[in-house]
C-alpha cells in the first residue's frame, strides 16, 4: 500500500461533520527520526495527542542476508551474522556456530564453552547499556547515555584485545573459539565486573527513583502475559509481563547449566517493569561472568573440524537467548559445502509486531517510550 493509497483510505469527512470535529492527523515518524533506533517508519494516526492507529513500515535496511547465505560456505557466512543485531554481534555468532555444530554433531571442548559464555554475557551487558542509554535519552534525560557508554567502552576494549574488532567481532568459529585468552583477560573481565556493580546502583538514584521517570514509564505500553504468548514475544519484554521463560534455563546450551543465576520477572508488564528486568539482568550477567571466570577449565579451545565443512543432509533449529529475545537459526543442508537455506528467527522483528497493540490509546510521547522499551534493532528486523 503506497503512500497515496494509504492517504485515500482515510475516512472522508461525512456531511454531518462540523469543522470542529478533529479529522485524524496522520503523522509520519519517518525513517530518519531521532528516536526510532534505526530506519523504522511509523505512520501514526493521531486524534490531537492520542494515538488512534499505528502502522510500522520496515524494510529500509533489508540486505537479504538469507539469500547471501545460500552462496557462501558454512564458515564464510559467520561474519555476516554479526551484522544482524549489530549491538550484540557475539550472541548472533554464538547462535549460528552452535546451530552448525548441532547439524554436524561436533562436541565443543569445555574451555571453549566457558569462554563463549563469558563473551556472550559481556556482549549482553554492552547491548543492555546501549538500550539503557538510548531509552533514557528518548524520555529526556541526557546524561545516563554518557555514563552507560563510558562503562561500555571497557567491554569493547576487552573485545578488541581478545578478537581484534570492537563491534563486528566474528569471535567464534564452528567447533569452538578462534583465539585463546590473552594474558590480562581474566584481570580485565573481573575489573569490569567490580566497576559495573556500583555504577548500576548509581542508575537507581539517577533514574529509577526519579518521579518524572516513574510517571513517564509506569503503566505505559502494558502487555499481558497471554498477549505475549500470542505474539510469540520473547526476551526481557516477555519476562517483564511475568512469564518465567529464558532459553538459557529452559533449553540450556554451551554449559549454562553449570552456572546458577536467577531470572528477573516483572509484574505489570509495563515499561517500568521491563526497565527493572533489564537492569536486574545486567546484575545476573555479572554473576554468571564471575562464576564462568572462576571455573574456566584448561584444555583445547577448538574441536577438530575439517577444512571444507560438508554437513550431512538434514535440518536443525537452534535458538539462543540473545539480549533482545530468543534468536533462532533454522539451517537446512543438502550435503554440499554451502547451506541450502538459513532462516534467522529475529526476536526484534517479532517483538515489534506488538508495538501497534501497546501504543494504541497512548500519547505520541508514549510511542517513543514503547519503541525504546521494546529494544529493537533494525538490522535484525529487516535482515
Amino acid at each position: 500500500m503506497s503512500d497515496n493509497q494509504f492517504y485515500e483510505s482515510l475516512p472522508e469527512v461525512e456531511p454531518g461533520h462540523t469543522f470542529l470535529d478533529s479529522k485524524e492527523l496522520v503523522l509520519n515518524m519517518g525513517p530518519q527520526h531521532p528516536s526510532t533506533h534505526g530506519v523504522l517508519r511509523v505512520i501514526l494516526k493521531l486524534d490531537g495527542e492520542k494515538v488512534n492507529g499505528l502502522e510500522c513500515v520496515i524494510g529500509y535496511l533489508h540486505r537479504g542476508i538469507e539469500k547471501i547465505a545460500e552462496s557462501r560456505t558454512w564458515a564464510g557466512f559467520a561474519p555476516f551474522v554479526d551484522r544482524l543485531d549489530y549491538t550484540a554481534a557475539v550472541s548472533n555468532n554464538l547462535g549460528y556456530c552452535m546451530a552448525v555444530e548441532k547439524l554436524v554433531g561436533i562436541e565443543v571442548p569445555k574451555r571453549a564453552q566457558y569462554l563463549r559464555v563469558i563473551l556472550t554475557e559481556l556482549c549482553r551487558l554492552s547491548s543492555h547499556q546501549i538500550w539503557l542509554g538510548t531509552h533514557v535519552l528518548d524520555i529526556g534525560a541526557v546524561t545516563p547515555l554518557f555514563y552507560a557508554f563510558r562503562d561500555r567502552e571497557e567491554i569493547l576494549n576487552v573485545f578488541e584485545k581478545y578478537c581484534g574488532a570492537r563491534l563486528t567481532t566474528h569471535s567464534f568459529r564452528i567447533g569452538g573459539c578462534r583465539w585463546d585468552v590473552y594474558p590480562a583477560f581474566i584481570k580485565d573481565v573481573l575489573r569490569i565486573c567490580d566497576d559495573l556493580l556500583p555504577k548500576i546502583d548509581e542508575y537507581k538514584d539517577l533514574i529509577t527513583g526519579n518521579r518524572i521517570w516513574m510517571q513517564r514509564t509506569k503503566n505505559v505500553g502494558c502487555i499481558s502475559a497471554d498477549d505475549c504468548l500470542a505474539y510469540a514475544i520473547t526476551g526481557p519484554v516477555l519476562r517483564g509481563s511475568g512469564v518465567n521463560w529464558d532459553v538459557r534455563k529452559a533449553k540450556p546450551y554451551s554449559s549454562y547449566e553449570d552456572f546458577e543465576f536467577d531470572i528477573p520477572l516483572g509484574v505489570a508488564g509495563d515499561t517500568f517493569d521491563r526497565y527493572l528486568v533489564r537492569i536486574e539482568e545486567m546484575r545476573q550477567s555479572i554473576r554468571i561472568i564471575r562464576q564462568a571466570v572462576a571455573g574456566l577449565p584448561e584444555g583445547p579451545i577448538i574441536a577438530r573440524v575439517p577444512k571444507v565443512l560438508k554437513p550431512p543432509a538434514g535440518e536443525v533449529y537452534m535458538s539462543v537467548e540473545a539480549p533482545k529475545g530468543e534468536l533462532g537459526y533454522f539451517l537446512v543442508s543438502d550435503g554440499t559445502a554451502q547451506p541450502y537455506r538459513v532462516r534467522v528467527r529475529p526476536p526484534s522483528f517479532i517483538n515489534l509486531q506488538a508495538l501497534a497493540k501497546m501504543a494504541k490509546g497512548g500519547l505520541v510521547a508514549d510511542v517513543v517510550a514503547i519503541i525504546g522499551t521494546l529494544d529493537i534493532v533494525l538490522g535484525e528486523v529487516d535482515r
Binding site: G76, P79, E160, K161, G164, A165, R178, W179, N210
Partner: protein, 152 residues
Amino acid sequence: MKFIEGLKKIFLIDLFKGLFVTFRHQDPNDLVTEQYPLERPEISDRYRGQPRLVKDENGKMLCTACGACALACPDKLIKVGSMRDPETKKKVLTEFDYDMGRCMFCGLCEEACNTGSLKLSRDYEIALYSRDGLELDRKQLEDGTSRKVYDK
C-alpha cells in the same frame, strides 16, 4: 513507612538525589574524552586493520601463491596471479591484488594462510578521499600505504 514516603515526595528528595549524582561526576579525573590527534588510542595487537604481506627477516617473500586466502574470503576480494618457475618447478607470486573497498576485515584470509604471510596489521587510519585508492596491489601490500596523519 508510608509517612516517610510522603515526606520524601513533598521535599523532592528523589530529585535532589539525581542532582547530586550528576554533580558528583564533575571532578576532572572522571572525564574520559580522548582528544584524537593528540592522544592516540592504544591498539591491541590482535587488531584487524589494513592487510599486509609480511616478509621474513632477510626480506624473502613468505607467500607461496597457493590461493588459499582467495578461496577463504567470503566476498572473493583477493586475486592471486602466479607463474611456474621453470627450474624450481614451484609457483612464484607475480601479482596479488586485494580490493579493500569491499573488505569487512573478518580475518578469514589471515586464518587460511598457512605460511602466515598475509596479516591484518594494526593500521587503522585507512580513510581516503576517493574509492580507487582502496584496490591495493602487491607493492602497496608489502611496504604498506603511508596515509597523511593530521596533528590538529
